[in-house]
């Protein structure tokens, strides 16, 4: 049976900061409807791998392609296809929660932005905070807003760096359900996580990173 065309394909990634090699010889293919969880101890290179995958970090060696297009952070096709939740998401200090989501939905040309925003806002339980400015949100609420910015727009690949961070137990359960639904709808997901419940529920494949970002174990 022919294997599905990968949404994400990374080959031979190597990244070093000065003399310290973080990742070396990392390969990954993720097809539509697949969810890959990167696990490993702190400093194993999970976040660096994710940053290389989305183009936020330029690998020293190797190549990354999304839907057959070489990844560049500034390429509008990559920006259109890849939704990310990593730590460098910055919010406009003078736009409220709902205005952030409205702006993103409209920027991506969502046909019914109001409906999409209302739906996501309710799902992330930020309706009471819809008029609040981001600076006044708690850290958990900011994380929910960051996740909402990824869900309110079209995407074919979702890249998440420890999305469970700062979420309460109920929030982690919701996130697991949501990501599972996204995967079943055909979205490709790559996430780094330390939360076994999330990984077990969502991931179709687990890649455990060891020393220098080498793959220690991979399980289907």
């Amino acid at each position: 049976m022919a294997r599905k065309t990968p949404v994400l394909k990374a080959t031979g990634l190597k990244k070093a900061f000065g003399p310290v090699v973080i990742v070396d010889g990392f390969n990954l293919e993720v097809a539509a409807g697949e969810a890959v969880a990167l696990t490993g101890r702190n400093g194993a290179g999970k976040s660096t791998v994710l940053r290389c995958l989305i183009g936020a970090e330029r690998p020293d060696e190797g190549a990354v392609e999304v839907n057959g297009i070489k990844v560049s952070e500034t390429d509008p096709r990559i920006r259109r296809d890849v939704a990310t939740v990593i730590d460098d998401l910055d919010f406009f200090p003078d736009l409220s929660v709902v205005e952030h989501l409205d702006l993103l939905a409209r920027a991506h040309g969502v046909a019914d932005p109001d409906g999409a925003v209302d739906e996501v806002l309710e799902e992330v339980q930020l309706v009471p905070q819809s008029g609040q400015l981001p600076g006044t949100l708690s850290s958990g609420q900011r994380r929910r807003l960051a996740l909402a910015t990824a869900f309110v727009r079209p995407r074919t690949l979702l890249v998440l760096d420890e999305p469970e961070q700062r979420l309460d137990t109920e929030g982690v359960a919701w996130l697991a359900e949501r990501l599972l639904a996204e995967r079943q709808r055909g979205l490709a997901i790559v996430m780094a996580s330390h939360e076994p419940a999330l990984v077990d529920k969502v991931a179709t494949r687990i890649v455990r990173l060891g020393d220098r970002g080498r793959v220690e174990a991979a399980s289907e």
């Binding site: 998401l89 910055d90 919010f91 200090p93 003078d94 736009l95 409220s96 205005e99 409209r106 920027a107």
Partner: protein, 571 residues
């Protein structure tokens, strides 16, 4: 010889007796949580805690006494030397200006120190409101505020510094301006006292209001003082441009009594508010005290890196936290139009930023009135840079980290251009309003034709936008990059270049106008600067392309070498 060895010798070489069997201590029952000790906490003095902290620091000095004395000597010598030079210069200038008895000099003597006085009052009030004025560091907040001590004594000390600064800085500034305008020394003293006492009263009022957690009165007063300062500066311009007769405003000498009276009343008001504040110091919430302290430490950190953009970010974030909530508005359009529309909504949401933009129109008219029309594009462009920065908040977020830009399905150039649209529109309106000043409407007559004046105003507006964009998008200092050797030691290049961010673009674009070259040169330079600032040349992409090309060249070279290695058939 170690203590252990000495003990062994004294004991006659006998080994130390074996340690006694440890007593069996009954284990405490397993509990999942613990109560505080039953005994009541003992009240301690704040001085005792300070003593304890001093004890911790004991023996951790990083400099010797000799180094401290040497540094102190150099500091005192420098202060005395520089101070003597400044005082000598001021006295010379004051003596030179005293001789001027024309109506214009009299007018300047009255108006300029008055404008500085009101300006320093407004500034003092604004800074007091921003920082507290009573504040505490995060360490004090978590260690001392939790201790059972009287906060009153601690905070009383914290009130002294703002009050001293509030008095001396405005007094010195206004006194200096008064002296340079040619007033006699008694009048200089009167103006300095009035400015210092007035500002002291404002700081004391701000402290008193801090205990009540109110700000409306401070905002009102700040607005009044700022408006008065600008109105007086406009008056100066009007007189200088001969729109008003100089004789209409004169008589600085006759005001001396009034200024002394203001100083006296302000001093009494200051005492009243200081007493009122001292009575309520205990009531200031810890969160309010510590937020001022954290703001100071954050700004100190940013100042060490000379990152002015970060300082502004801190202030903007703080303002947004104070505001907390807005009435959400629905966006319009799809794609890039949604971004531009949102920027427009921002202007309507915070119309306060339009006031400085409108007030900056004083600059081109003032420069024209002072017969410096050749420098008008540069000076007005710089004023425009400062007032346009608040309208580029969206661009700042899109450029300081990659996160938000990565969430939008556009090229970097498209994003930046869209984020510049609204400020550029505002700048064009500003240019139209400033055009008469570029044509020349002061007493000396027209400096340019109407068309040339309009072109100069337009180029100045464009230079202002580009300068503001450059300032907002300046990269923060990269301390991991190769350093530049300077007299002050190794410095990252961005640290130095960022100091001139904005100024450089305005100077570049307006240089042909100032040097008398055809305006088309300025327009061409503006286009070039725009192409660079909109991010057309992404350094990462260029580097990536270069590396790809190098790899291809290396591969081709290797292939050629392999060809050469093919053994030739032997004869």
């Amino acid at each position: 010889m170690s203590k252990k060895s000495r003990r062994l010798i004294r004991s006659g070489g006998q080994p130390a007796p074996a340690p006694a069997e440890p007593e069996v201590v009954p284990e405490a029952p397993a509990r999942t949580f613990f109560f505080l000790p039953d005994s009541e906490p003992v009240a301690v003095e704040e001085a005792e805690l300070h003593e304890l902290m001093k004890l911790w620091r004991h023996g951790r000095a990083t400099r010797t006494l000799g180094q401290v004395i040497s540094d102190s000597y150099v500091t005192v010598f420098s202060v005395v030397l520089v101070g003597a030079m400044v005082i000598s210069t001021v006295i010379n200038a004051q003596q030179g200006m005293t001789g001027c008895n024309t109506a214009a000099c009299d007018t300047g003597r009255l108006l300029v120190p008055t404008a500085v006085l009101f300006g320093s009052w407004g500034l003092g009030l604004g800074l007091s409101r921003l920082f507290g004025p009573v504040l505490a560091s995060a360490a004090e907040g978590s260690w001392l505020m939790d201790a059972p001590i009287s906060r009153h004594r601690l905070l009383r000390g914290r009130l002294v510094l703002p009050l001293l600064l509030g008095f001396f800085v405005p007094a010195l500034l206004t006194g200096l301006v008064a002296a340079l305008s040619g007033m006699d020394w008694l009048s200089v003293l009167a103006w300095a006292l009035a400015a210092g006492s007035g500002a002291l009263a404002q700081v004391a009022l701000a402290a008193s209001e801090q205990t009540h957690e109110r700000t409306w009165l401070l905002r009102l007063l700040q607005g009044i003082w700022a408006a008065l300062a600008v109105a007086i500066l406009a008056l100066v311009v009007s007189v200088a441009a001969a729109w008003l007769p100089a004789s209409a405003i004169a008589g600085a000498g006759t005001l001396r009594g009034l200024v002394f009276a203001v100083a006296g009343i302000a001093g009494l008001v200051a005492v009243w508010f200081v007493v009122a504040t001292l009575r309520r110091l205990e009531l200031i919430r810890r969160a309010r005290l510590v937020s001022g302290g954290s703001l100071v430490s954050g700004m100190q950190g940013a100042m060490f890196a000379l990152d002015l953009g970060l300082i502004r970010d801190i202030l903007v974030e703080r303002r947004s936290i104070e505001r907390g909530h807005v009435r959400p508005t629905r966006g319009h359009g799809l794609g890039l139009r949604a971004l531009i529309w949102r920027d427009l909504q921002r202007v309507f949401r915070s119309p306060g930023a339009l006031v400085p933009l409108a007030l900056s129109l004083v600059v081109p008219y003032a420069v024209d009135a002072l017969r410096m029309s050749q420098l008008n594009p540069l000076l007005s462009g710089l004023a425009l840079v400062i007032t346009l920065v608040p309208f580029l908040g969206g661009l700042r977020v899109l450029t300081r980290t990659g996160g938000m830009a990565r969430s939008m399905p556009f090229k970097t150039t498209q994003l930046r251009t869209a984020a510049m649209a609204v400020p550029a529109g505002l700048a064009m309106l500003w240019g139209l309003a400033a055009a008469p000043a570029f044509i020349g409407i002061s007493g000396s007559g027209a400096d340019r034709t109407i068309v040339d004046g309009l072109i100069a105003a337009g180029i100045t507006a464009v230079a202002g936008v580009l300068g503001a964009v450059r300032w907002v998008t300046a990269k923060k200092p990269d301390f991991s990059a190769p350093m530049m050797a300077t007299a002050s030691g190794a410095l990252p290049p961005t640290l130095l270049f960022n100091l001139f961010a904005g100024l450089d673009m305005v100077a570049l674009v307006t240089a042909p106008l100032i040097l008398g070259a055809p305006p088309v040169w300025s327009a061409a330079l503006a286009v070039l600067v725009f192409i660079v600032l909109r991010g057309t040349f992404n350094m990462d992409d260029l580097r990536s392309q270069q590396e790809e090309a190098q790899k291809e060249m290396a591969a081709a070279k290797q292939a050629r070498t392999e060809k050469i290695k093919v053994p030739r058939p032997t004869r």
